[in-house]
């Protein structure tokens, strides 16, 4: 795991920054609203505790209706605004760019099988070049799993009988944790893997080396009786 703390988890993909701005923005709004409610409750309980000298006159009749309408409409527009922010962020990242590095992922109880574009295979590990849009083409052989890389703020359920895609652009070299996020039985919590993001040159060298190793292995197997 590269960097990051519990409060500020590492961002390692292009979209992650925008998601975090939305998240921290919503945290800010939530803290503000919670504080307002807490101040109102604690303030009123203190000011209007039994026996305090504060005024207890009745409120004018119209007051309640006006206040209700103001905060209903206010809340409505505030929520629509937050929805708008979240929805646009979601929609602009919906379509991957035209040219992506396509990697095939097959999930099964309890492992991730990865196939690079050049045919190199990995288990519970995935090597990726930095700053390159990656598209995962995923399916499951048995139950529903979920491909989850927190550092990329990316998650997609992997469903048997369906092909699901997920795309992101890693932008930080390092190793990141891959976890299964959909409960899938006995080995669910051990269905972990490692994503290694390398420089483009390192990735090219790694691909070539693995490809050669795989060919040697295939050739040897071919010679065997």
């Amino acid at each position: 795991m590269a960097g990051g703390t519990a409060f500020l988890p590492v961002e390692a993909a292009k979209q992650a920054g925008a998601v975090d701005v939305l998240f921290y923005g919503e945290v800010g709004i939530s803290v503000l609203v919670s504080l307002i409610v807490a101040c109102l409750v604690v303030g009123f309980v203190t000011r209007y505790r039994r026996g305090s000298p504060a005024s207890r006159r009745k409120l004018p009749q119209a007051f309640s209706h006006e206040v209700e309408i103001i905060w209903t409409v206010g809340t409505f527009f505030a929520f629509v605004a937050i929805f708008w922010w979240a929805a646009t962020l979601n929609l602009i990242h919906l379509r991957p760019p035209d040219h992506t590095l396509d990697i095939r992922v097959v999930a099964k109880q309890w492992m991730w099988k990865i196939e690079q574009p050049n045919g190199v295979r990995e288990i519970d590990a995935m090597h990726l070049p930095v700053d390159t849009p990656v598209r995962l083409i995923m399916t499951s052989q048995d139950v529903i799993h979920s491909f989850y890389v927190s550092a990329f703020r990316a998650k997609q359920d992997v469903v048997p009988g369906r092909v699901e895609t997920l795309w992101f652009t890693p932008d930080r070299i390092g190793t990141y944790q891959l976890l299964c996020a959909e409960y899938c039985g006995l080995g669910h919590s051990l269905m972990r893997g490692e994503i290694t993001v390398m420089s483009k040159a390192d990735y090219a060298r790694w691909c070539a080396r693995m490809k050669a190793a795989a060919q040697v292995k295939t050739a040897r197997n071919g010679e065997a009786p």
């Binding site: 519990a6 409060f7 988890p9 998601v19 998240f23 919503e26 709004i29 939530s30 919670s34 409610v37 807490a38 109102l40 409750v41 009123f44 309980v45 209007y48 505790r49 039994r50 026996g51 504060a54 207890r56 009749q61 309640s64 206040v67 209700e68 905060w71 209903t72 809340t75 929520f79 937050i82 929805f83 922010w85 979240a86 929805a87 979601n90 929609l91 048995d142 139950v143 529903i144 989850y148 927190s150 703020r153 998650k155 997609q156 359920d157 048997p160 009988g161 699901e164 944790q177 976890l179 299964c180 996020a181 959909e182 409960y183 039985g185 006995l186 080995g187 669910h188 919590s189 051990l190």
Partner: protein, 554 residues
């Protein structure tokens, strides 16, 4: 509320002192087990859900002990999976869904509308037995055979891959569903047909409105749960390929059906809590509830919109991205009436004359914790944030803030508020306040660290976990120990009050609901003479409040 004229407090038709209370109408076991008195049925339910609460709570303690260390402290992953399953199933279906409606709803709905009983007393006792036997059967199946699917029963894991007594558990929950439907039908009919003279719709206490909205959801949503559980049995027992993709089934179909029930079920759990809090806050603030009609409309809107937000559980399931946007929008909309309610509860304190007895402590705790639960719900309704946070501890923390911080706090608020009426005894106020305080602190210590865990990337339902998450798991487990103590305390001081508690008067809190205008505990037929209602339910203004010294009125 403001358009309802406030007249002088009517002469309460009190039962003569010689009338026997419902507790004295027969002391045999059969007089309890086969009773048709809504108040006795409420007590039976209360005993039932208390048993299930502590079974579910015991499972929760095992979970928190297991997660003290990254590689699992006490049990194997196999057993851990069964433990979180039993925790979820028992707490959702055998505690939270029935909790407030079947106990306080059964006891007080007829009293609050001035009725002698519910509309169908025999259906009421039958629904208790369906609930209790169905739930007991399910728990025995899970404990003996082990079910490891989680309470959500996601397919095709539950139908093709899981070992254990999935079929039996599904049948048990299927059966318990009938009890929910029967209770819903009973309450709807009671509210429609049995309101006493003068009890117009807009004079109903908000607790009654909450029961009414909840009953609608129960009646309309529960059949869908039954249908989806039946499909699990059909695939698992008969091999019908309903969800198995290799024979043309659709694994996602189950999630749609399941959440079509289980999201409205969240409102079955929280609407009654809102009702309880709306009774408690005006009483201890000595103030009319702020915006009564808006409170009613808000509850009905929550019940209604609640049926169209289920897809927000499925943002990463592979459903259409535009479906995600649709469900996201409606999830924001269902939060509007919830926010209005929080503002109204806060505003009800304005110009009050507030005292902080235990019920008020719990009710104010509810307002705070529900607010945090609701706001984190908005984050989860935002698609990009949810993609990161769904199936992590952030979601676990969020729904525990709503269900434990919200519903369970409200349950305790109602329990303490109405305890003198139900039992005729006064509990120890000091012990109750201490328990309320411990519950609030313990709850936050347990579940706030889980927000941090989720944001740091810790998935749900992990028997073992990467070591960097340990600090927050330990914090959460320590909080759970405090919470457990706070939940055990009421057993002792409430139990003690039954034997040694002072005798409660008919109206120890000087509350204005009809339920306080009969003896404590009430006679079997509730009221000697059916009461007549001439004003709204919250008659607490300082200038006509009998509990108030006059110097505060101006």
């Amino acid at each position: 509320m403001t358009d309802i004229p406030f007249q002088s407090l009517p002469e309460a038709p009190r039962a003569p002192a010689t009338v026997k209370s419902y507790l004295d109408e027969g002391h045999t076991l059969a007089s309890w087990l086969f009773t048709t008195d809504h108040k006795r049925i409420a007590i039976l339910y209360a005993i039932g859900i208390t048993i299930f609460f502590f079974i579910g709570g015991f499972a929760a303690m095992l979970i928190r002990i297991q997660l003290l260390t990254p590689n699992g402290t006490i049990v194997s992953p196999e057993l851990y999976n069964r433990i979180f399953t039993i925790h979820g199933i028992v707490m959702v279906w055998f505690f939270l869904v029935p909790s407030i409606p079947t106990t306080m709803g059964n006891f007080f709905l007829p009293l609050m509308i001035g009725a002698r009983d519910v509309a169908f007393p025999r259906l009421n006792i039958i629904s208790f037995w369906i609930f209790f036997l169905g739930a007991l059967f399910t728990v025995v199946c899970i404990v003996s055979g082990g079910v490891d699917t989680g309470w959500t029963f996601y397919t095709p894991y539950s139908t093709l891959y899981s070992n254990g007594h999935v079929i039996a558990a599904a049948i048990g929950i299927f059966i318990v569903g009938f009890s929910s439907i029967a209770t819903g039908v009973n309450f709807l009919t009671t509210v429609h047909t049995m309101r006493t003279e003068g009890m117009t719709w807009f004079r109903l206490p908000l607790f009654v409105w909450a029961m009414y909205a909840t009953s609608f959801v129960m009646v309309l949503a529960t059949p869908v749960l039954a249908a989806s559980l039946l499909m699990i049995v059909a695939e698992r027992a008969l091999g019908m390929p309903l969800f198995n993709p290799h024979n043309g089934g659709d694994p996602i179909l189950f999630q749609h059906l399941f959440w079509f029930y289980s999201h409205p079920a969240v409102y079955i759990m929280i609407l009654p809590a809102m009702g309880v809090v709306s009774e408690v806050i005006p009483c201890f603030a000595r103030r009319v509830i702020f915006g009564y009609r808006f409170m009613v409309y808000a509850m009905m809107m929550i019940a209604l919109i609640g049926f169209s937000v289920w897809g927000h559980h499925m943002f990463v399931s592979g459903q259409s991205p535009f479906a995600n946007i649709y469900f996201s929008f409606l999830s924001f909309m269902v939060a509007v009436p919830s926010a209005i309610k929080v503002f109204n509860w806060s505003a009800s304190l304005f110009r009050g004359s507030i005292t902080l007895e235990a019920p008020m402590f719990y009710a104010l705790g509810f307002v705070g914790l529900f607010t945090i639960g609701g706001l984190t719900g908005l984050m989860l309704a935002s698609v990009p944030v949810d993609i990161d946070l769904t199936d992590t501890y952030f979601v676990v923390a969020h729904f525990h803030y709503i269900m434990v911080g919200g519903s369970v706090s409200a349950f305790f608020a109602g329990l303490h508020y109405w305890w003198p009426k139900i039992t005729g005894k006064l509990y120890n106020e000091r012990a109750a306040r201490l328990a309320a305080l411990l519950m609030f602190i313990g709850f936050n210590l347990t579940f706030f660290p889980q927000f941090i865990l989720g944001w740091a990337g810790m998935p749900r339902r992990y028997a073992t976990y990467p070591p960097e998450f340990q600090l927050w798991h330990v914090a959460s487990s320590l909080g759970a120990a405090v919470l457990a103590l706070a939940y055990i305390m009421p057993l002792f001081y409430l139990g003690w009050s039954l034997y040694r508690g002072g005798k409660a008067s008919a109206n120890p809190w000087h509350a204005t609901g009809l339920e306080w205008q009969t003896a404590s505990p009430p006679p079997k037929d509730n009221f000697a003479v059916p009461p007549r209602v001439t004003h709204g339910p919250y008659f607490y203004h300082a200038d006509n409040d009998p509990s108030q010294p006059t110097k505060n009125a101006s």
